[in-house]
Amino acid sequence: MSKARQSKLRTSLVHVALIAYTLVALFPVFLTIINSLKSKQAIFGQPLRLPGPSTFSLIGYETVLKQGDFVTYFQNSTVVTVVSIFLVLLFGAMAAFALAEYRFRGNTLMGLYLAIGIMIPIRLGTVALLQGMVATGLVNTLTALVLVYTAQGLPLAIFILSEFMRTVSDDLKNAGRIDGLSEYAIFFRLVLPLVRPAMATVAVFTMIPIWNDLWFPLILAPGESTKTVTLGAQLFIGQFVTNWNAVLAALSLAIFPVLILYIIFSRQLIRGITSGAVK
């Protein structure tokens, strides 16, 4: 009896702690969204109030929709993000498997070489990168962005995935080998399903900097047809007149696609964990 009460108490304490942190995490996001629905006077007059009849205004959203082709911007961001994530996961997992599974001369060196990329911001290579893109005619194409983001995402993906792949049981792989599976089959059919939670984690980590990047869209693909959402939103931040309504509206809109992508991957993460328990 008392044990049950104790555990009930414990559960509620856990929930209290979790709810408290939920408030900390969500409050600023909540502020952004409610303020995107208010007039400029009200944003600064009463930032905490919910939009009421006198302060409710969609002016920010109107400006955003009028000013640029935001539907295209969303498409561009989505295409770039999804294709890059796919390539990073596929190539990253393959390389991570090679590093984690096989002993070959230069393994550690290769690991270190592939980790260099997490140590220097790729932004520094901008000028040479841009020259290369100009030379190959890839400026103002989404391909340019996909290539850069894939290269940028690979080091971290390999780093994390190889760590997780080391925890996959050797017995399982050796059993597969005895059954005559090829190394490719072992990788794709045995190992990949087991590291799905880690893959989902990597996908989420890869996605964030891509979706939110301002620099490379600005440099490599500033054209109207290849603009991304974040770059489009940045247009409303001026030097002398800052249109916060439009900024908040554009940014509020930009939250949802990443949130959806995140939820998709996080489903995968949970499913991966539960089905991965198959031994």
């Binding site: 939920t22 969500l26 070959f104 270190l112 040479a128 780093f159 940045q234 940014l251």
Partner: protein, 316 residues
Amino acid sequence: MTDLAPEQGEEASRRRPRRWHILVFLAPAVIIYTAVMILPLIETLRQSFFNVVDGEHVFVGFANFATLFGDPRWASDFWNALGNNFVFFLIHMAVQNPIGVALAALLSLPGLRFAAFYRTAFFLPTLLSFVIVGFIWKLILSPIWGVAPWLMDLVGMKSMFGPWLGKPGSALITVSLVSVWQFIGIPMMLIYAALLSIPEEVIEAAEIDGITGWGQFFKIKLPLVLPAIGIISILTFVGNFNAFDLVYTMQGALAGPDKATDILGTFLYRTFFGFQLQLGDQSMGATIATIMFLIILTGVCIYLFGIQRRIRRYQF
């Protein structure tokens, strides 16, 4: 560089003399990574050994490094940025990672209701762009629009409020905490994934032995997720010493007040790309980048060779 030929004496390789699959697994990643990332970076880092002398682009050896550490102005800016960067990193290690681990531990409790909701909520800040994080926190902390003063008034601490972002003593801590708020989802997710992959049998065995609650967490789970904690520590280190965007959006490229929030990333950006009337200096910028790279490389090597090898891994 990397030799894919089999190692002699290796048991597996005697059966398969040429292991082409290793090459196939590695090739796509290595090619894209080398062409798009490493070559442009080498191109840039090379600049640290060149400078413009009398209008000519010439090789100057280590002269740029001598300037960075020898010239009192460059040196004081550099050490200031490095010191701030360490503070920035220590705050992350002391606040972000423990809270991240604690949240992951709570979330992974068996039978917890609304776990998916909490997880999404905690991760949401990490999904936001720096533009939005910078804007909204400046608004919250603004002494004029009053969200933070109002909230502190609720708990009777209004007198403790100050213009934190504008004071040299508090600006760096404030920016670091905002960064912690934003990135806490990353350690949380990694630890959470690691905790969930601990097999039920291990936990059951512990429970049979009467190890539950806190004891179970510290004695059983924590040692099992140590490799993941190692990863988040090194990721925090690398991330913090490459950090730039948040300081840039919150405090500007000059990282005010009086360079109190200047970290290596902002120092590098200002030098490399220039700012306002300051012209970009690719040579000195590349020099700073090279030093940053060496600092981070040292950290990563300590991890790879010193720590990672000592961590015991458990295969499930």
